[in-house]
């Protein structure tokens, strides 16, 4: 469980986050929506302990992360970036092994046979054991994303933070990765992700947090809070929403009348 309370953050004199509070339970997939520049990435950086908030706290299972050493913190919360292309090619196994760096016991500086065995287990758990010896840079975007998720799992953290994990993927891979994330939430992981796709949030998220101008604007279950008005408030466009039963929805842009 991750809890954000009264979080504010400023870059210089520019206040980016204002008094943000929310929490995500274990087993919950939380989706953060908001326009570009709303402060989602800054929020995530604070939640990962990469930025020190001006005021407020982030705590995991009741422990304040600002009081933790980096290696300790990394065992509670892991970051899954957009599938990026690193400059140097590493094998998939090496990529996953990197996630085990914070778990190395005192006096051990390099991962060894034991870590390698666990890395292969995690790859197997993700259903990508066959990629172990491949070059990470030569994988498809979807496969890369699965490797990055495997790396976060290998890190041992139960809270996963993902900044638009699927935005660079094709439609099929988006759905596959998103389904895998739902499964992980069902296994007890806490997942906080941002998304630029409200429809996807509607389908996959247990709860949605809407950020606007650095504040929590709305919060709740997708089917309770997501409607035409919310989309207009968040993104400034007029849409028509069509619901399909309880758990699916589609937004259609309304063309301006001439």
């Amino acid at each position: 469980m991750i809890k954000v309370s009264g979080l504010s953050f400023s870059y210089g004199s520019k206040e980016v986050l204002k008094d943000i509070s929310f929490e995500a339970e274990s087993g919950e997939l939380l989706c953060v929506l908001g326009h570009n520049g709303a402060g989602k990435t800054t929020l995530f950086r604070c939640m990962l302990g990469l930025l020190k908030p001006g005021s407020g706290t982030v705590s995991i299972d009741g422990a304040d992360i600002s009081q933790m050493k980096p290696a300790e913190r990394a065992r509670f919360v892991a970051y899954i970036p957009q599938a990026a292309r690193p400059v140097f090619a590493y094998s998939v196994t090496d990529m996953v092994l990197m996630g085990m760096t914070p778990g190395l016991e005192k006096g051990r500086i390099n991962p060894g046979r034991e870590e390698k065995k666990k890395a292969l287990q995690v790859l197997d758990q993700m259903g990508i054991a066959d990629l172990a010896e491949r070059d990470y840079t030569k994988l498809s975007g979807g496969e890369q994303q699965l490797v990055l998720i495997a790396r976060a799992l290998a890190q041992g953290a139960k809270t996963l933070i993902m900044d638009e994990p699927t935005s660079s993927l094709d439609y099929g891979n988006q759905m596959k990765v998103q389904r895998r994330l739902s499964e992980l939430a069902a296994e007890g992981y806490t997942i906080v992700q941002s998304s630029h796709n409200p429809e996807q949030a509607y389908v996959f998220a247990d709860r949605v947090i809407c950020i606007k101008d650095g504040r929590v604007f709305r919060e709740g279950k997708p089917r309770d809070i997501m409607d035409e008005q919310l989309i207009n408030d968040l993104y400034g466009i007029d849409v028509e929403m069509i619901r399909d039963g309880e758990d699916r929805a589609r937004f259609f842009l309304i063309k301006e009348q001439k």
């Binding site: 980096p70 970051y79 690193p86 400059v87 094998s91 990197m98 760096t101 890190q155």
Partner: protein, 342 residues
Amino acid sequence: MTAGTLNSDKRKRIALAIMAVMLVLGIFVSVFLGQYDISPAQLWGILTSRLTGAEPFWTSRQEHILWNIRLPRILTACLVGAALSCAGCVYQGVFENPMAAPDFLGASSGAALGAALAIYFGLGEAMITTLAFVLSLATICLVYLIGSRTRGNRTVGLVLAGLMVSALAQAGVSFIKLVADQTNQLPEITYWLMGSLTGTENKDVVFAGVTIAVGIIPLLFLRWKINVLTVGEEEASAMGVRVPAVRAASLICATLLTAAAVSVSGMIGWVGLVVPHFCRKIIGNNYMFLMPASIFTGAFFLLMVDNISRNLFVAEVPIGILTAVIGAPFFIYLITKGGEPV
């Protein structure tokens, strides 16, 4: 480059062992190369005579050449090659830039200014090395100081600061060349700038050996974390790595290596760029293997080039010229036909 060819750790270990054996063989062969012949039996005799007290069956000249000229030169070539290659592969990783080389942050230009000053003021052999070393480190400190004050991306700031300070140091060198005595000092400065291992003495070996060991040993302990750094600052931090500390420690060590190497040998380019790239092709990018591979291969490469430099031509060709002549075309091969893109 990594997939398919040599991806399993076992094969990488074998490749590493081959590189180490090549280096040992290279050193062994190099001992026999030179104007004065020394037979294998004589070599063994000279090396062990201090322990066994055996009756010499060699001339005192041979003994002098082996102890005071040939061995110091061979060891210095190995040390300088290892240091430059190791520094190069570390800079590449820390800056996430495959084109980074040991003189990236101005270490070489600073050393050149120091050497030129020492020659201009006629301070003698020992001070050339010392001043080159001191100014090389001073240049890097200045680069850090400026780099840390730049706005925006720190890494880019550091590289830009390196470019600027290098340019200043080079201007200083040019000015000294202009005002230096044309018959003695100017040729000496020019020769030093071209890089050479001529006249290497035992005390150079001790100096280079100690400073390079001080630089390389911490890097060997940091090499897994350097792997994590290469995927990006944010991700590495999220994986619990203290990025600023690991980065600073790596750069300090790599800079010490560069300063030590350049102050002993002058400007020897290309080694720190080409050797790590060659090793990346053979053994992959994992620093667990890449760093020792660069150390062994760098030592071997510079030793071989130095053998060519001191034996193949009537007049000795400065090694810096040879590394460029060999390194540049080889690098072109690596980035074009060599297989995968860098």
